[in-house]
């Protein structure tokens, strides 16, 4: 057996002088409450507050970070509990125990990755395990995890408190009634803050499958006729109001590119109407032009209602069609697109709203080259633009460090977003925030050790990065 004992100094600098400083900085924020302004946990989980059913269903199957690495070394998704979509062929359902055995026997695959880091921290801190998973101890650990999950202190709300989560933002469809958020808000026994995030990009592309149905349904929910482009915009405005009333402070938008040049109203109307009637007639160029218009109009709404606009262009969804057809989306094969660019495509949006006081735009990327070339320079001029923390593929210790080195030079700390965990894996939230706090402590320590900033300033910044900065950026 190999011991599982996360070191108190892990991820802090090796150099003794930097380590001393980094320890002090980290100690200042190690137990600070968690502000999680961007994630994918289901609010219903906290309403129901039921015991988690099974270790594998909690820790393996829903986490596409874990799925993709195991798939990459040849483990079929079926063996990890991923269900084929209806009609895509029968599958032997693997039991939770079998899934855990598969994970445990591939434990070495994760070595050196943040997935291993999060997982180790989680198994140790949340579940109290003290051995690294292995083929030998898989059954024993599975039983221990299952037993732990049956205990009342492992229910969602108890963990919410234990994790010291102060704010948790979910991601929600505009048609959601947000009843779970309302229930939590109205429940005097739950003192946490769970806020919805408005994610409307499925209404942007009139050539995408199911667009017409989604637009019609949105109209019903909003009580607005969405058979026109103006109606769609009105419906979105109405739903943003609904989200605001339920505590939302932000929207989230994922698009293939950052283009924001709007069509004039008549041209947008023409495409809208034709897309409803004859979707096949919409050319790729028309679909793109309509999507760019929708991005521009979303910014207009944000400049008006003050919901912070989170934007993350540049991800290609469902790269491997056979996997998509068999298992559906979010199964590990979304991939970064070719080098994207923001500076020129965002120009129409920023010329219109970039200096308006209520408008705020947080730019995320999976292409690190944008940090020094585009995101930091944009955040270094426009009062509305913030440099989002590294996200998804680059939410890793060395990429977070590279982000700080690339961005601080251009815009310091106040125009960065603070950490976002972006996770579906509820139990990994503390480990993810902890990783970020350690890396930031190390970075700040290096600035102090090279006499670029004072230790007092570093302490203040370390605190701000987990508190004042995300609070201000996301208007929490």
């Amino acid at each position: 057996m190999t011991s599982l004992a996360p070191h108190p100094d892990r991820l802090l600098p090796a150099d003794p002088a930097e380590l001393r400083i980094a320890r002090e900085l980290y100690a200042e924020v190690a137990d600070a409450p968690i502000l999680s302004p961007h994630g994918h946990v289901d609010a219903g989980l906290l309403v129901a507050d039921e015991a988690f059913a099974d270790p594998a269903a909690l820790l393996v199957t829903p986490d596409h970070y874990v799925l993709r690495l195991l798939h990459a070394v040849g483990v079929p998704l079926e063996s990890l509990g991923v269900r084929p979509t209806p009609g895509a062929g029968a599958a032997e359902p693997s039991s939770g125990r079998e899934i855990w055995r598969t994970l445990a026997s591939h434990w070495h695959t994760f070595l050196g990755t943040p997935v291993r880091y999060w997982f180790e921290t989680e198994l140790h801190d949340v579940f109290g395990l003290t051995e690294q998973p292995s083929a030998e101890n898989a059954d024993e650990q599975y039983d221990a995890l299952a037993a732990a999950l049956a205990r009342p202190e492992m229910r969602p709300r108890a963990l919410f408190d234990r994790f010291r989560i102060e704010v948790l933002a979910t991601t929600d469809d505009p048609v959601s009634d947000l009843s779970a958020h309302a229930a939590l808000r109205d429940d005097p026994s739950f003192t946490g803050r769970v806020v919805p995030t408005f994610r409307a990009d499925r209404y942007f592309d009139p050539s995408s499958a199911g667009w017409a149905e989604a637009v019609a349904r949105l109209g019903e929910v909003a009580g607005v006729d969405t058979s026109t482009h103006a109606g769609l915009l009105d419906a979105l405005r109405a739903r943003r109001e609904h989200f605001l009333r339920h505590g939302a402070t932000a929207t989230d938008t994922g698009v293939p590119d950052a283009g924001s040049e709007p069509l004039d109203a008549a041209a947008a109307e023409a495409i809208h109407v034709r897309a409803l009637r004859d979707p096949a007639s919409i050319s790729p160029a028309e679909a793109v032009a309509y999507r760019h218009t929708m991005l521009f109009q979303s910014a207009a709404m944000a400049a008006d209602d003050g919901l912070v606009m989170q934007l993350h262009p540049g991800v290609l969804r469902n790269h491997h069609r056979p996997t998509f057809e068999r298992f559906g989306p979010d199964t590990g094969h979304d991939l970064p697109l070719v080098s994207s660019t923001y500076t020129e495509p965002l120009r129409p949006m920023l010329e219109a709203f970039g200096t308006q006081p209520r408008f705020r735009l947080v730019l995320f990327t999976v292409d690190e080259t944008l940090f020094s070339r585009e995101i930091a320079p944009l955040a270094g001029f426009y009062p509305s633009v913030y440099a989002g923390a590294p996200w998804w593929f680059i939410d890793t210790p060395s990429a977070i460090r590279r982000y700080r080195e690339a961005v601080t030079d251009s815009v310091g700390f106040t125009k960065t977003s603070g950490f976002i965990d972006d996770t579906r894996a509820f139990c990994s939230i503390p480990a993810r925030h902890d990783m970020s706090r350690r890396v930031d402590a190390g970075y700040l320590a290096s600035l102090v050790a090279t006499h670029q900033i004072s230790e007092d300033d570093a302490l203040r910044v370390a605190r701000d990065l987990v508190d004042a900065i995300p609070r201000a950026t996301f208007r929490l």
Copy 2:
């Protein structure tokens, strides 16, 4: 109050062994004369040699690095002394004292940026301040600065000597008579060397506003008929001669992209003549083709007269039209363009002139990805090509370090340009060169500490980087 006392070891490595070596290397060059082969100080400043009027007008308003960071946290440009262009509406002029208060109360914004580094060094070393600026001490510091500026030893020529500037290159329009440079050269009481740099890119794009007027005026000054493309080239050749006679050793060229495929003479003539007669008829493709031709022809002139060609493609000017319309250019919203490329676009130029002995091309970039992928490989084959130091947005400690790590592997040190300060802020020149010397000392120390080069070799390179290398690169 917080002490302002730049640490003697700032920016040097934290590791004790590396620090010891870096200190020795830095000591060797800390007081070396400054060669400033690329900058934007006005030569007339040194001719007039008058006391600087006001601390804010000297240190804040003309420095777009400072403006943009303050603007990014919500400070209006008006409050920083930027004057609206005529007709763009009245503005309350802020006094120098008010501007300084604004700067001081946002001092924390600069934390971690090179702007803060330069500013701290400058306030301490040049002006003798010993406290960090703050809202509390703003008035007192403003008075101290104003009093300092009134002293004779703070006049431009005295500072020129005190800064140990050996060569200062300015940037000048081809129509400039260079009388300031002549006056300085002929003034026996001024022993410094101030050389002009020929910057002609405003004549490259026949679709740009004011092109015809500029071309006509150039013809007048050169005494050459510029109603033809051949005439324009002749006029530029004549003005290059004029610059050479006034001590110029280099030209500077900023273009959106590095394309250098020339049109044949007839096609270029046709565009030229039509652009003078009917500018609106010039298509974007024609404008680009003409501009590429001008870049090629500039290289041809450089291969002939030996003026070193500095090239920096990839900046998008005046990103925010409303700011441009209100305040004009150089007000903080020039931004790096999408990932540019040099290898293929420069091929026509390099096939024609790349191995000619008098031709020399220094490539600058604001896109760091080009250092290892394009610039170093080009400089590693073509005898004429040099890898320019990080510039503008990436003139920062961590980017300079990344530049060295990316470029040294491919081409060592002799094909790099040496540091350029590129500044309009006269008093920041020593701080900028000092920053570069420290970072280079740290980089060389890391090579010594890991036994990649000897300490003797490192000492030689450290000296060459501030002396022999820029002197050779820019033919000073």
Copy 3:
């Protein structure tokens, strides 16, 4: 004179704690056998096993890494022994001694580059030199090198054993009879393993010079009619079989871009037939479409016969036409192309074969931005995809470190390729592998020192990186 004494700790970390760990890790692999799965040494060299003729002809003239750096500081290729192509004008042939003098007098040019590192290691370890080359000792060192080369223990086979090469892969044209490989295999006195690699990209582009002749010749050698596209594919299949019978485990493919969308059979046939009859009629778009088809079909063959597919898009050959016309290819002016992309272009290939068990694709790049943005994410989902080690321009200490930092976060170690030396310079093989082993030891030590992985795990990974990992990746 300056001593040439490579330090035992060179390239290992400066930090004492990291150094201690790195030393242990490096000691574990310093003397491990060399697996060289990708290179350009001629197998005939080992068959003939004759003494190397001349130090310059061995160490300078054939090494384009050396040529390009000397050319970049103004040394004409003629002075380095490069022969003009027939008809390109007479040249004074430089003697080996003169070439060595030229190299020695420019020795400082290489400072800080890996070329210097390899060269120093080679001169010291292989040839026993103890002084840095210089103009002063050039003749003496030349004589010492020449005398060394005359000794029996400096013949190719003796060096092969002394270098502890276990497997050496060569790169071969499909028409090669591989008689040298057969001779080595059948020679009981030679116990090494020398395997061919199938490189077929010269048959991909029907618009390239000499394509029709090459295709016809391939048909003759394969005994297959290649006047059709189907025939060309059959001929390639037949030659892959031939390579497999001679021990090949992999193919190698260099293409301008990674496009893999196949034409249907009829369209491919039409282009093929027309290209044979009237090459000038093939449009650039047709040539590209045909080339993409060939890449797709190569993957199909690989999925079938299990030869590992190595792919390296993104190099622009022969950038400087005048040099090409005078000296031919491989003379230092191949250059990285503009930022390439893999994710979208490889989609057709990966949708078809990405999860097939016999298919394996090793992706190399000369554009570092792809490591974190595209290569690691692809290798982190597709079981068939491996992240190739940094190659060519980025086969350097700091780029190898950046590669590890970029790739490990996403996919750990098991989906990386292991080091490849890619060299034509036989005597540099040990120095190149040694460099990689040292850098990897330093990287692993940093993970241990920051408590991200245990020392035991680091030891296991260090061993795997030079043994199990390349063995598995290349199916050795």
